[in-house]
Symmetry: C2
Protein backbone atom coordinates (compact mmCIF):
# COMPACT_ATOMS: atom_id res chain seq x y z
CA UNK A 1 0.00 0.00 0.00
CA UNK A 2 1.19 3.52 -0.80
CA UNK A 3 1.76 5.99 2.00
CA UNK A 4 0.38 9.53 1.99
CA UNK A 5 3.94 10.70 1.30
CA UNK A 6 4.19 8.58 -1.86
CA UNK A 7 0.71 9.48 -3.11
CA UNK A 8 1.35 13.19 -2.61
CA UNK A 9 4.72 13.12 -4.39
CA UNK A 10 3.37 11.21 -7.38
CA UNK A 11 0.43 13.63 -7.66
CA UNK A 12 2.71 16.68 -7.49
CA UNK A 13 4.99 15.23 -10.15
CA UNK A 14 2.00 14.41 -12.35
CA UNK A 15 0.56 17.91 -12.07
CA UNK A 16 3.89 19.43 -12.98
CA UNK A 17 4.20 17.11 -15.99
CA UNK A 18 0.74 18.22 -17.14
CA UNK A 19 1.83 21.85 -16.78
CA UNK A 20 4.97 21.39 -18.88
CA UNK A 21 3.12 19.35 -21.50
CA UNK A 22 0.34 21.93 -21.81
CA UNK A 23 2.89 24.73 -22.08
CA UNK A 24 3.91 23.04 -25.32
CA UNK A 25 0.26 22.57 -26.37
CA UNK A 26 0.89 18.84 -26.59
CA UNK A 27 -1.75 16.15 -26.08
CA UNK A 28 -1.04 13.06 -23.99
CA UNK A 29 -0.93 11.17 -27.29
CA UNK A 30 1.81 13.43 -28.61
CA UNK A 31 3.86 13.03 -25.41
CA UNK A 32 3.41 9.26 -25.60
CA UNK A 33 4.54 9.22 -29.22
CA UNK A 34 7.54 11.48 -28.68
CA UNK A 35 8.72 9.67 -25.53
CA UNK A 36 8.09 6.14 -26.78
CA UNK A 37 5.94 5.39 -23.74
CA UNK A 38 2.32 4.19 -23.75
CA UNK A 39 -0.54 6.71 -23.76
CA UNK A 40 -2.15 4.92 -20.82
CA UNK A 41 1.14 5.18 -18.92
CA UNK A 42 1.33 8.94 -19.57
CA UNK A 43 -2.21 9.26 -18.21
CA UNK A 44 -1.43 7.22 -15.11
CA UNK A 45 1.68 9.27 -14.36
CA UNK A 46 -0.19 12.55 -14.84
CA UNK A 47 -2.89 11.38 -12.42
CA UNK A 48 -0.25 10.45 -9.84
CA UNK A 49 -0.96 6.73 -10.03
CA UNK A 50 2.62 5.67 -10.83
CA UNK A 51 5.88 5.97 -8.93
CA UNK A 52 7.82 6.82 -12.08
CA UNK A 53 11.46 5.78 -12.42
CA UNK A 54 14.42 8.01 -13.15
CA UNK A 55 14.81 6.66 -16.67
CA UNK A 56 11.21 7.41 -17.61
CA UNK A 57 11.41 10.88 -16.05
CA UNK A 58 14.35 11.44 -18.40
CA UNK A 59 12.41 10.09 -21.38
CA UNK A 60 9.65 12.63 -20.74
CA UNK A 61 12.18 15.42 -20.25
CA UNK A 62 13.96 14.53 -23.48
CA UNK A 63 10.69 14.34 -25.41
CA UNK A 64 9.57 17.71 -24.04
CA UNK A 65 12.99 19.29 -24.56
CA UNK A 66 13.44 20.36 -20.94
CA UNK A 67 15.99 19.59 -18.26
CA UNK A 68 15.12 16.73 -15.93
CA UNK A 69 15.29 19.19 -13.06
CA UNK A 70 12.39 21.17 -14.58
CA UNK A 71 10.15 18.13 -14.39
CA UNK A 72 11.17 17.53 -10.79
CA UNK A 73 10.90 21.17 -9.67
CA UNK A 74 7.44 20.51 -8.28
CA UNK A 75 7.85 21.44 -4.64
CA UNK A 76 10.08 22.97 -2.03
CA UNK A 77 11.97 20.86 0.50
CA UNK A 78 9.71 21.91 3.34
CA UNK A 79 6.40 21.24 1.59
CA UNK A 80 6.00 17.63 2.66
CA UNK A 81 7.63 17.45 6.05
CA UNK A 82 4.35 16.51 7.72
CA UNK A 83 3.87 13.57 5.37
CA UNK A 84 7.47 12.37 5.65
CA UNK A 85 7.14 10.19 8.75
CA UNK A 86 5.90 6.98 7.12
CA UNK A 87 7.83 4.95 4.57
CA UNK A 88 7.10 1.72 2.75
CA UNK A 89 8.33 -0.13 -0.34
CA UNK A 90 11.61 1.54 0.35
CA UNK A 91 13.76 -0.38 -2.11
CA UNK A 92 11.66 0.15 -5.22
CA UNK B 1 18.72 -5.83 -20.25
CA UNK B 2 19.47 -2.15 -19.68
CA UNK B 3 20.20 0.07 -22.64
CA UNK B 4 23.19 2.42 -22.83
CA UNK B 5 20.73 5.28 -22.27
CA UNK B 6 19.50 3.80 -19.00
CA UNK B 7 22.96 2.86 -17.76
CA UNK B 8 24.31 6.35 -18.48
CA UNK B 9 21.41 8.10 -16.77
CA UNK B 10 21.65 5.97 -13.64
CA UNK B 11 25.41 6.57 -13.47
CA UNK B 12 25.01 10.33 -13.86
CA UNK B 13 22.35 10.43 -11.16
CA UNK B 14 24.56 8.34 -8.86
CA UNK B 15 27.56 10.59 -9.35
CA UNK B 16 25.49 13.65 -8.58
CA UNK B 17 24.11 12.02 -5.44
CA UNK B 18 27.67 11.27 -4.30
CA UNK B 19 28.57 14.92 -4.91
CA UNK B 20 25.66 16.28 -2.85
CA UNK B 21 26.27 13.75 -0.05
CA UNK B 22 29.99 14.56 0.13
CA UNK B 23 29.22 18.30 0.18
CA UNK B 24 27.53 17.57 3.51
CA UNK B 25 30.46 15.38 4.65
CA UNK B 26 28.02 12.51 5.10
CA UNK B 27 28.92 8.82 4.80
CA UNK B 28 26.69 6.39 2.91
CA UNK B 29 25.69 5.04 6.31
CA UNK B 30 24.51 8.45 7.43
CA UNK B 31 22.48 8.97 4.25
CA UNK B 32 20.95 5.52 4.69
CA UNK B 33 20.03 6.28 8.28
CA UNK B 34 18.58 9.72 7.53
CA UNK B 35 16.58 8.56 4.49
CA UNK B 36 15.35 5.30 5.98
CA UNK B 37 16.77 3.35 3.03
CA UNK B 38 19.27 0.48 3.19
CA UNK B 39 23.00 1.19 3.09
CA UNK B 40 23.44 -1.35 0.28
CA UNK B 41 20.70 0.42 -1.69
CA UNK B 42 22.47 3.78 -1.28
CA UNK B 43 25.66 2.16 -2.58
CA UNK B 44 23.89 0.60 -5.56
CA UNK B 45 22.24 3.91 -6.52
CA UNK B 46 25.52 5.79 -6.23
CA UNK B 47 27.22 3.26 -8.53
CA UNK B 48 24.42 3.65 -11.07
CA UNK B 49 23.14 0.10 -10.62
CA UNK B 50 19.54 1.06 -9.82
CA UNK B 51 16.85 2.85 -11.79
CA UNK B 52 15.67 4.78 -8.74
CA UNK B 53 12.02 5.76 -8.38
CA UNK B 54 10.62 9.25 -7.87
CA UNK B 55 9.66 8.51 -4.27
CA UNK B 56 13.16 7.36 -3.32
CA UNK B 57 14.72 10.35 -5.09
CA UNK B 58 12.51 12.49 -2.85
CA UNK B 59 13.56 10.53 0.25
CA UNK B 60 17.20 11.26 -0.51
CA UNK B 61 16.45 14.91 -1.22
CA UNK B 62 14.51 15.26 2.04
CA UNK B 63 17.27 13.57 4.03
CA UNK B 64 19.92 15.79 2.47
CA UNK B 65 17.80 18.93 2.82
CA UNK B 66 17.90 19.83 -0.87
CA UNK B 67 15.25 20.31 -3.54
CA UNK B 68 14.53 17.27 -5.67
CA UNK B 69 15.57 19.28 -8.69
CA UNK B 70 19.10 19.60 -7.24
CA UNK B 71 19.47 15.81 -7.21
CA UNK B 72 18.22 15.60 -10.78
CA UNK B 73 20.30 18.51 -12.13
CA UNK B 74 22.90 16.09 -13.42
CA UNK B 75 22.96 16.86 -17.10
CA UNK B 76 21.77 19.15 -19.86
CA UNK B 77 19.02 18.14 -22.27
CA UNK B 78 21.42 17.67 -25.14
CA UNK B 79 23.97 15.53 -23.31
CA UNK B 80 22.46 12.16 -24.11
CA UNK B 81 20.90 12.60 -27.51
CA UNK B 82 23.17 10.02 -29.06
CA UNK B 83 22.16 7.41 -26.52
CA UNK B 84 18.46 8.19 -26.77
CA UNK B 85 17.59 5.96 -29.70
CA UNK B 86 17.04 2.68 -27.87
CA UNK B 87 14.41 2.08 -25.22
CA UNK B 88 13.43 -0.95 -23.17
CA UNK B 89 11.45 -1.71 -19.97
CA UNK B 90 9.47 1.38 -20.84
CA UNK B 91 6.71 0.97 -18.31
CA UNK B 92 8.83 0.56 -15.16
Amino acid sequence: MRTDYEIELCKLFGKNLVRVRRDRLWSQERLALESGLARSYVGDVERGLRNISLVNICRFADALGVDVSELTAFRQVSDLQGANSEHSDKET
